[in-house]
Symmetry: D2
Subunit: 302 residues, 4 copies
Amino acid sequence: MRAKWTDLAMEARGSVPVSDVRLKSGIERTVVRIEDEQTARELGRPQGTYVTLSCPQTMTIELSMREALSRELAQAIRQMLPEHARTVLVTGLGNRSVTPDALGPRTVERVLVTRHMDGCLPDDVSARMASVCAAAPGVLGVTGLETAEVLRGMAEHVQPDAVIAVDALAARSSARICSTIQIADTGISPGSGVGNHQKALTRETLGAPVIAVGVPMVVYASTIASDAMSDMIREDGGTEADEEKVAACVERVVSERLGDLIVTPREVDALVERMAGILAEGINLALHPGLSREEIEQLMAT
Amino acid sequence: MRAKWTDLAMEARGSVPVSDVRLKSGIERTVVRIEDEQTARELGRPQGTYVTLSCPQTMTIELSMREALSRELAQAIRQMLPEHARTVLVTGLGNRSVTPDALGPRTVERVLVTRHMDGCLPDDVSARMASVCAAAPGVLGVTGLETAEVLRGMAEHVQPDAVIAVDALAARSSARICSTIQIADTGISPGSGVGNHQKALTRETLGAPVIAVGVPMVVYASTIASDAMSDMIREDGGTEADEEKVAACVERVVSERLGDLIVTPREVDALVERMAGILAEGINLALHPGLSREEIEQLMAT
Amino acid sequence: MRAKWTDLAMEARGSVPVSDVRLKSGIERTVVRIEDEQTARELGRPQGTYVTLSCPQTMTIELSMREALSRELAQAIRQMLPEHARTVLVTGLGNRSVTPDALGPRTVERVLVTRHMDGCLPDDVSARMASVCAAAPGVLGVTGLETAEVLRGMAEHVQPDAVIAVDALAARSSARICSTIQIADTGISPGSGVGNHQKALTRETLGAPVIAVGVPMVVYASTIASDAMSDMIREDGGTEADEEKVAACVERVVSERLGDLIVTPREVDALVERMAGILAEGINLALHPGLSREEIEQLMAT
Amino acid sequence: MRAKWTDLAMEARGSVPVSDVRLKSGIERTVVRIEDEQTARELGRPQGTYVTLSCPQTMTIELSMREALSRELAQAIRQMLPEHARTVLVTGLGNRSVTPDALGPRTVERVLVTRHMDGCLPDDVSARMASVCAAAPGVLGVTGLETAEVLRGMAEHVQPDAVIAVDALAARSSARICSTIQIADTGISPGSGVGNHQKALTRETLGAPVIAVGVPMVVYASTIASDAMSDMIREDGGTEADEEKVAACVERVVSERLGDLIVTPREVDALVERMAGILAEGINLALHPGLSREEIEQLMAT
């Protein structure tokens, strides 16, 4: 039962102070810093900086908001990248065949890959571009391989200056779905939300700093159900939900015999494409600061 | 707000008596008959016979259960087909690009289509086969065409003896997802669960009896949340949920700014394939009673 | 054996005079007019006007060329549309599951569909937009339904002022693949290149003028082989290829036991996406002359 | 220009003697052994054993032929596997987004993966199963990573007893497409047919024997054209084709400005599925000799 799970630090932050800025574009940028081990243990996530970009949750996204999101994402990534990072491995976690989970693989398909052109480009072009490689290693249940095993092997050969890992997240609140991007300098534990305890992707395991980029695509059904009940109890003047009673009710309405029950927008296929496009644009702008949006678009054209 | 909606007659049946049989295969067959107009109005669905096949909800389906389901489905369809039906139009409703909604289109892809071979096959083969055509007309929001408009045009040219319409359903209970097949001789209203009031597909609109075949792939998130609350109220000895209060709580946890929020198993892509395979097998067996399972498989081979 | 087949009037034109203009954008516009019945019979295609837009054949298309192509396509379509056409049915012919054949279905997915919003939009917006519906009816071998049967049914209900039919073509020369767009006011015979003699889509069958838009995606392997041989014979000073001898050689190297052997670029999947994008942009600009490219992009956004 | 290229040793074998057996099932098994370095140089491929299974080239495959092919493939693989091989890495080479090239990735999707269940299964089951992991590493142009780099990293962590590498091949003759399976104990050079000289996948680079399994899905258009011309010259009593003249004619009819022009059956999408199914069945039977076809099917069920 995954009641009340969230992958967003800003939802889990408890009493940790945050800095919160509303930008001109209408995006809100929130920064949570987990700075000591005790806080990390309390919040169940590693020490580091978690930046969240939030925008209004809308059926159709304005093209200007789309551009603002990718620009802010690029800036957040650049602040976490080591100076003079030249070789970067971008990896899309998750299962390509599970729609909301496909965000990572769908993003890396749109990342501008350049490492195979090292040495083939004119110097003036190549000076403005990073050396980028990209891979979606698939998930343990499909490949029989732990994500960290696969990526460690790649990292040993590529020796990247940084790794960017893109993953779909689970939020606590359905208002966060597709309206929030989290960028963290902490690395990432693949499948952590799914309860598969795999090796984390961190500087320790991959030999380079790991920047995690994620977007909530789902809320667990058990979270929705138990939050509705807690809300009602508060409404009735109750102070504290009876955890056990809530859990028993959740179990009756949430059948998990087919695995996790998740809550998504019906249009999640189209929303995955939207968000994959925005993430890839942001990553491309971050990694190739010498290229304009138009130059990147032309290089991606077929 | 789609709280408490169900496309399953057996969940909505109120006090209508049902016949209920557990078959040797472990499948439960339930028959709900709505026989007068008042009951129809009370239950919000047309008069007719609704057969439901239920099996255990399991991560991996036993091949023997799969065969039993398609065999029982074939029998239920055959009992609703007009005698000597020779020409049948099978149609898959729903949006191919929305995963749980793709059940209909994915099913028709696996239906054995034979109408274009009329007159080309040896007599002894053709005597054992129906003349079947199949189409997935898409949804109004994508094509700008009402499903009934498209199908009426087809039916006028094809003059089928019967229409079989396959659609993904919404259930009230998550325990019904992918464990239930409903077969009804009542026709179907495309998008009725989605609140788009389009013309129904019935004998009146299509000129031939319409057999509806559906499988619940989703529960509305608002249903899960409100059912959890009602359950809790009953648990607390409450008799009746305060509808308005429940609705207000649901609205706070169910953000519908991205359209309907639905609850599905995370593995819904694979489950759609599972169920599309079972439905197509059942339809193929029903329409070509002169062919064995193996002959159909060979005719479908590429 | 489909040696020497072409769907392009400009390749088949024989001695028909053409008008040929090179535009500033680098696009060449050629117009072939078949104006009497005898010429139509000689060329094996109906009377009417065939406009061809040609651009350089390149691995990566310049974004400026892409825009020029869609702009010229829009203009060519507008010249063939009846004045004051308000309701238009756009249809994508061909088989979605056969990569080069999927051009039509992939194009209609990107057409801005508006008919279902008739009456829902503010007057000032709706005055600038046509009422567009779009459908990909599939192919006879998959649906058991003739394309003309399906479209006639739709046209009877929609009563369009014009039909635009998009299809993948076969060229005579591999240099034409993805570098040529043909627009004709003659209607189209689905599967004509494939040798399935189905009813044509014309003003007679659909009750509205039919504008055919196509792009060569393949050359038949038998064409490539026999053209190579004819070329060699000419090179050797031979005047006329011995048709029978050539056909016998072709048969030895072109195995048609798996159906038509076709010649395509290896990257045909990506090229189908490129061309579907260009065609849809051109169609959208033609049908909604009151909207800018940016407004259309925003209306298509998800 | 890739005229006359073939990935099949039996087409390139020159004067190397072969053993050739027609099996009861109608399959022909041919074995080519390249046993010394000079022959290897002459044929442009490494020393080792190349087994070819050939069956009739048919639009629809008989289910009995399908089973015979997978059974023979399983046997050929088993004869090349090291005794007591327990851990096997299956890898699908090629680009998932290029239809004929997707054979490898589509095959590994259907391989029964078991490594992640090591230690979780009852002893009696696990004794009958190998420990299998599977991955499709993508291609250099998409990932920026050499296939050998990625696989070497995986192999270092997994330490497999053998690697099975599945790839789509180019044949010399169109009669070989989808009617031939080649199994070789020599390893494989990814993209060798494509002219990208990447590191080979061999015992030396991966630390375990590499069994290559491939099926011809294409012939190069330049091969078809030049073979037609050579055939005609022979027909005319010519002894030797004038290489240069042939190449010039090929260049005129084969436009390579969009990359390689390839010859495939129009139905190649469906044929890739057919062959991926047969290869995966053969690999599954080879790796889990303790399991029946039915047990494997049940373990793959969803």
